[in-house]
Amino acid sequence: MAAESANATLALPGVEPTVGARRARRRWPVISTSIIAAFVLVALLAPLVSPADPYEQTLRLRFRPPVWDERGSWQHPLGTDRLGRDLLARIVWGSRVSLAAGVITVLLASAFGAAVGLVAGYYGGRVDAFLMRVTDATLSFPVILLALILAVTVGPSFTNVVIAIAVILWARYARVIRGQVLTLMELDFIAQARVAGAGAGRIIMRHLVPNTMNTLVVLVTLQVGYVIILEASLSFLGAGIPPPTPAWGSMIAEGRDFVTSAWWVSFFPGLAILLVVLAFNLLGDWLRDTLDPKLRQL
């Protein structure tokens, strides 16, 4: 910062120096991105990083506490779960499943939702009305119920969880993107593009998509955390990613009855979820502050 002017700063009451504030906003959210990067790395290198086979059961070593407890051992640094499987290994492999579930679901939902939003916003009239009624119907269908119905009908599985959540989540994107497109349509540059003979496809791709991309990116980051949490709740109800696949959500659900006797079984996966979701939410907030401060919709 430039040196202060020659005459010393008058410490004027009510005019306090604020240095921190100016720098805070600009800085890239280092913490969030490093957490996300760490977990993505762990997910990718799971086979190398994982200390043990996440599926291997040794009932004798059931509910072993973490290493710093006197009954704990370095063989299972974070302890073992109800079937004697190594907790750290399952968290490492679980990162692959949970992150994948979060990211894939959100990408699917945002792609479909954005498409619907763009078309509805661009064409307006009856097309818009119809698409919006379908969106309303979907929004009023509770996510958890659909996931339960799917789990009960064809049996819980990774794909079912992804489908169930995506089939509902797209409606939120559709509504937000449509709102944005409506405002964009008012602007002159769309009219000019039309006058210049651009077809619907070109206009949507060259003009509307780039302008709504910011919002989409923000929404995507904010929703990844939400999906991971939703998967955990579904596991609690028995409709999440099924055993024995290691997934953070189901690991917490499995450990829920031993919150005091074997606290680590649900605590560590919970910590993992907390960190990842926190990181995604804070990143999302930062993205929204920089990319699209106007975004007032969730």
């Binding site: 910062m1 430039a2 202060e4 002017s5 005459n7 700063t9 008058l10 004027l12 009451p13 009510g14 005019v15 120096p17 604020t18 504030a21 100016r22 600009r26």
Partner: protein, 324 residues
């Protein structure tokens, strides 16, 4: 001249931005007496609005900071007041009218609520007396059927009407000093003329000291007694209106005057000032206007010119006028 209502002495206000510290107000001094109007003229970014905000101590936190100087209101330094005391001074002693009437009024509250609010605070009126006083205020700014207007919402009024409401609020106390920050810029001409006449009338009735910020020289000629021309955070010339119009001392003022079409003048090309407004973060040494000054001298680029009196009450900062 009696004790000035407002006297600004060597005011410095700095703005911290991504590109470094901007000296938005770089040592400004002036004073305004009762019933007197000082025009503050200059291109946008010359620091005229920041000066006004510094007077009422509402510079945009946390970026801006009033670094040094004094602002004496009836002899009392506002910069030394606590925030609580300033809050009681704003509106009562120093009132302000902002530039854009379309967004000066709160869209979700009725006009009545927004007018009654200052009156209740200043005069402690309640209930019917408050309502009556508010209606009187609107009448004072020539708003037809004030009672109905009180119930209306801002978006139901025209731009001119809204600016009148803001005017009514400004004279609610009535204040000692009224700062009008380009109040008519976004009004169309006929409404503009009426509003200026209204301001004049209010000034005489309440003997207000007034600072009129504008970049429209026509308005300056009509409204102001004295004018201060600002450039890059400094007052480059200040003096009675007539003298500045007829015998501008500073090249920048002269250039400004020449860029205004005159009735009856010969039809020759208006001179535009070439070059770009100065980058306040990286001001060149010496006179800030040097890069664009027609009669720039070697000295101008090296040393900042001091303030030199050209005649009684008329001073400028330019080496041309320094006795050799």
């Amino acid at each position: 001249m009696a004790v000035p209502v407002i006297e600004v002495k060597d005011l410095h206000t700095h703005l911290v931005t991504r590109w470094g510290t901007v000296k938005a107000v770089d040592g400004v001094s002036f004073s305004v007496g009762e019933s007197e109007t000082l025009g503050l003229v200059g291109e946008s970014g010359s620091g005229k609005s920041m000066t006004c905000l510094s007077i009422v101590r509402l510079v945009p936190r946390p970026a801006a900071r009033i670094v040094s100087g004094e602002v004496l209101l009836d002899g009392e330094d506002l910069l030394a007041r606590s925030e609580r005391e300033m809050q009681r001074i704003r509106g009562r002693k120093v009132a302000m009218i902002l530039q854009d009437p379309m967004s000066s009024l709160n869209p979700v509250f009725s006009v009545g609520m927004q007018v009654r609010e200052p009156v209740a605070a200043y005069h402690g009126l309640r209930g019917r007396a408050l309502g009556r006083r508010a209606a009187e205020l609107l009448a004072a700014v020539k708003i037809p059927s004030p009672a109905a207007r009180l119930r209306a919402f801002p978006h139901q009024l025209s731009g001119g009407m809204r600016q009148r409401v803001v005017g009514a609020m400004a004279i609610a106390a009535p204040p000692r000093l009224l700062i009008a920050d380009e109040p008519t810029t976004s009004l169309d001409l006929t409404i503009q003329a009426q509003y200026l006449a209204l301001l004049k009338e209010l000034q005489e009735r309440h003997r207000l000291a007034m600072i009129f910020v504008t970049h429209n020289l026509g308005i300056v000629a009509r409204m102001c007694d004295r004018v201060a021309v600002m450039y890059a955070g400094r007052i480059v010339e200040m003096g009675p209106v007539r003298e500045l119009f007829t015998a501008p001392a500073h090249p920048y003022t002269r250039a400004l005057m020449e860029s205004v079409p005159r009735l009856g003048a010969r039809r020759e090309l208006l001179t535009a000032i070439d070059g770009q407004p100065p980058d306040l973060a990286k001001l060149p040494p010496g006179c800030a206007f040097a890069p664009r000054c027609a009669n720039v001298m070697e000295r101008c680029r090296v040393e900042a010119p001091p303030e030199i009196a050209v005649s009684a009450g008329h001073a400028t900062r330019c080496w041309l006028h320094v006795p050799a």
